[in-house]
């Protein structure tokens, strides 16, 4: 039996390889398409740090202090002072035409008011429609202005006879140090890219698997379900090329794309490859399941598109899952990407062993493949016969009525 299994497996695998040479669309989807999509995303994100965001300074005061603050703002890597003017309408028009993303307005008599101890006011108008620019500018501008405020306070206290050290202590008794472990420079590419790249892997695995139970043609009509005794070697041989190609793509992702984009991996590759294997198996299962249960292959592709396209948003990566409605959050739990990202981030950012993710991915993979094995058997064919009969009867009824 054992010898027979390997013989059959080899036979089917050689057949599969020949078919792939003849019609390579499965290989293109499992291997080339993700590489292409990752390359486009990598080029788009090649500058992960947000730099030189254009801002306009409206300086109604025109004093030495406001000029010094402007110079300090311009020196910050993420900010570029594109224009200094005393006409706010110019700044408004630049912000409206997306040529500037923030306006910093120093009020008239800004320096005079500070000298009088009243405090000078700075209004910062940020274009709220660019979330990343808004956050980066908020951080950079607030930092410069708070530093300057502290320096003014220190100079005042020194003038009153305090030592520099005492003055500094009184100006800011508590300092807040903000850290992001694993991403010390607040690089947004590290934050956004991994999730997006990995969701493409789910797409390629599941799409490549929709031909598992069909002939190699794009528009294969009927299902292929081998007879008893041939099922396991046939299915394994059918899946082997898809699995290997997906795994190769994943290895290229981690060994080429991640280092190129400066995405750090704070753990051994072994754990990541193990997790990725589970993810690939679950994703291939998703495609195979639809290939088996849906009679129309185009519908299967559409269903996968519906699941894959929003899966990145559903995963809670950009908008937290706990802030989503309950039903959507539950639906997201059925998608492998959600659990993969849940497990992947602790691994690659903290190097820690994720407790969740592994288990859920294993459960999803087991359930999908158990269902596939059941539906490949006599239960599945009886169910399909029953459905066919019901639908045919309905069709006849609707015609006769």
């Amino acid at each position: 039996m054992r010898r027979n299994f390997w013989f059959l497996y080899n036979y089917f695998l050689i057949n599969e390889t020949r078919k792939l040479k003849r019609r390579p669309h499965v290989a293109v989807i499992a291997f080339l398409m993700p590489l292409l999509a990752w390359s486009v995303l990598s080029i788009a994100f090649v500058n992960g740090d947000v730099v030189e965001v254009p801002v306009v300074v409206v300086d109604y005061d025109g004093s030495e202090l406001t000029r010094a603050i402007t110079n300090k703002l311009d020196a910050v890597e993420s900010v570029c002072v594109a224009l200094v003017t005393n006409d706010k309408s110019i700044a408004d028009s630049l912000i409206k035409s997306n040529k500037s993303f923030a306006t910093i307005i120093f009020e008239p008599d800004f320096t005079k008011k500070i000298k009088q101890g009243k405090g000078g006011s700075t209004d910062i108008v940020v274009n709220g429609f660019n979330m990343i620019y808004s956050k980066v500018l908020y951080k950079a501008i607030a930092q410069v202005l708070l530093d300057e405020s502290k320096n003014i306070q220190i100079r005042r206290l020194v003038d009153k006879g305090f030592s520099k050290k005492e003055a500094s202590l009184r100006a800011t008794p508590i300092i807040t140090d903000i850290f992001a472990p694993g991403n010390p420079y607040f690089n947004y590419a590290i934050y956004l890219l991994p999730g997006m790249l990995l969701s493409i892997l789910q797409m390629s695995c599941s799409f490549a698997a929709i031909w598992v139970f069909r002939e190699e043609k794009e528009t294969a009509p009927g299902r292929i379900t081998p007879r008893k005794g041939y099922k396991t070697p046939w299915l394994l041989a059918r899946l082997t090329p898809i699995y290997l190609l997906s795994l190769m793509a994943a290895v290229i992702l981690f060994s080429v794309f991640f280092p190129l984009l400066g995405i750090p991996i704070n753990t051994g590759y072994g754990k990541i490859i193990l997790l990725t294997n589970l993810y690939i198996i679950a994703s291939i299962g998703m495609g195979s399941f639809l290939s088996l249960i849906l009679s129309n292959l185009v519908t299967a592709a559409q269903a996968l598109l519906v699941i894959n396209a929003p899966s990145f948003v559903f995963s809670g990566y950009t908008f937290p899952r706990w802030a989503m409605p309950e039903a959507i959050s539950k639906f997201a739990e059925l998608i492998p990407l959600t659990h993969y990202l849940e497990a992947f981030f602790p691994l690659f950012l903290f190097g820690s062993n994720p407790e969740r993710g592994y288990v859920q991915l294993t459960i999803i993979a087991l359930v999908i493949w158990a269902l596939i094995i059941i539906l490949m058997g006599s239960v599945g064919s009886k169910m399909r016969d029953w459905f066919r009969e019901v639908f045919q009867r309905r069709e006849i009824n609707s015609v006769t009525k």
Binding site: V46, T172, A301, A323, F345
Partner: protein, 400 residues
């Protein structure tokens, strides 16, 4: 005119009679916005869970924690005892940040020594930085100034309490167009445009692929021999079809999800018409390269993320490489989205979106011309032998 009407009718009939195309043309444009709209129903992130590691554990440190907890964006959900615990909880995504209050925090404050509070942010969720990072920073600074001032007063040192003196530079942040900087308000207006544009692109390409796959290309020449008329007819049929969805979005869906498309209906419809025309002509041209609908769905499915990133919606376009930025204008989604955002969200006149409108017109002309040449080329191809008899004997073009 009669020929043009026949082409439009033929194109629409094709969509109505094919179950898979009907799913894209009828179900997806309504189902997707409802689904995405539901995700961002709450729009803003409130009560972001954070943890506290209080190594001082005094009245002062506890009162600082209470002040932080009182902020509307922040919820102190856990009191932890080590940094390892913080990292573990962050890794589990149970908390998105943590404050570490050092030992001797209150003693240092009372004796006028400098102290620091650490704030750890979850690196996997950098967007919470301004939700919690900067409020915490401000609360801590104000709190420090208050405590030091009261300690100095107790010692008899005079303290100036006036805010203008304590904070020489006052900072007032305002967010234009999205005052509360919420994800929902930011994402939903653009998302509807991305959905409609991608559905048009994929749907129209799939519809063309179906004709190609079923060897029905030549049927359209039975309706008209003029390829320009065929191109125009196809384009008009899709514009007419999808403009109905644009109206549904602007009139019903936008108010339902509180999306403010602030402009006159005429301006919105003008942008939508040009966007639909550009997306449909792009779909027509790309569809000529596919033989099967399934390949369209699978291959074009991969374009969704790169297209989304190129729009500058999630990642600023100014940060893209210059060449990529110009390349992105080949895709109709980019000017379509930018025009809608400029006019309806930034409340500009159409004049501010003149570049985007021009690009969409150029795209429509370019892709329609390319489609014309593709059809012309395909028309010259020889028929498969099996089909020759059918065409010689005549063909009922009503059958699709």
């Amino acid at each position: 005119m009669k020929e043009l009407l026949s082409i439009i009718k033929r194109e629409l009939r094709k969509v109505f009679l094919d179950r898979n195309l009907a799913l894209i043309f009828f179900v997806a444009p309504i189902a997707y916005p409802l689904l995405y709209g539901a995700i961002y129903l709450h729009k803003a992130e409130e009560n972001v869970p954070i943890a506290v590691l209080d190594r001082d554990n005094t009245n002062l440190s506890r009162s600082l924690v209470r002040e932080i907890d009182a902020h509307q964006n922040i919820a102190v959900t856990q009191i932890l005892h080590s940094e390892d615990e913080i990292i573990k909880e962050m890794a589990k995504e149970n908390i998105h940040g943590a404050i570490i209050i050092p030992q001797n925090f209150s003693e240092n404050l009372k004796y006028g020594r400098k102290t620091s509070v650490q704030l750890l942010i979850n690196p996997g969720r950098l967007l919470v930085l301004s939700d919690i990072g900067l409020p915490i920073s401000q609360i801590v600074t104000t709190y420090g100034a208050k405590v030091t001032a009261s300690a100095l007063m107790k010692k008899g040192t005079p303290v100036l309490q006036e805010i203008g003196y304590a904070q020489p530079v006052k900072i007032n942040f305002q967010y234009l167009f999205n005052p509360y900087l919420t994800y929902g308000d930011l994402i939903l207006p653009g998302l509807l445009i991305i959905i409609i544009s991608q559905i048009i692109f994929i749907g129209v390409a799939a519809s063309q692929a179906k004709e190609w796959g079923m060897n029905n290309w030549r049927d359209q020449f039975l309706v008209s021999r003029n390829i320009s008329l065929i191109t125009a007819g196809k384009l008009i049929s899709y514009i007419l079809f999808f403009i109905i969805y644009a109206l549904i979005y602007f009139i019903f869906l936008a108010p339902f999800y509180h999306i403010g498309y602030q402009s006159t209906l005429a301006s919105k419809l003008l942008i939508a018409t040009l966007g639909i025309a550009a997306s449909a002509s792009f779909g027509l041209f790309v569809g000529t390269f596919f033989k099967h609908r399934i390949t369209v769905f699978v291959i074009l499915g991969f374009t969704s993320y790169p297209f989304f990133m190129l729009t500058g919606f999630a990642w600023p376009q100014n940060q893209l490489l210059e060449a990529i930025k110009y390349f992105s204008y080949l895709f109709p989604l980019v000017p379509f989205l930018q025009a809608i955002m400029k006019v309806t969200q930034m409340q500009n006149s159409l004049y501010f979106a003149i570049n985007e409108l021009t690009i969409m017109i150029v795209q429509t002309i370019l892709y329609s011309t390319l489609f014309y040449f593709r059809v012309n080329k395909i028309k010259k191809r020889k028929l498969p032998k099996d089909f020759v008899t059918q065409y010689i004997e005549g063909f009922d073009h009503k059958t699709i």
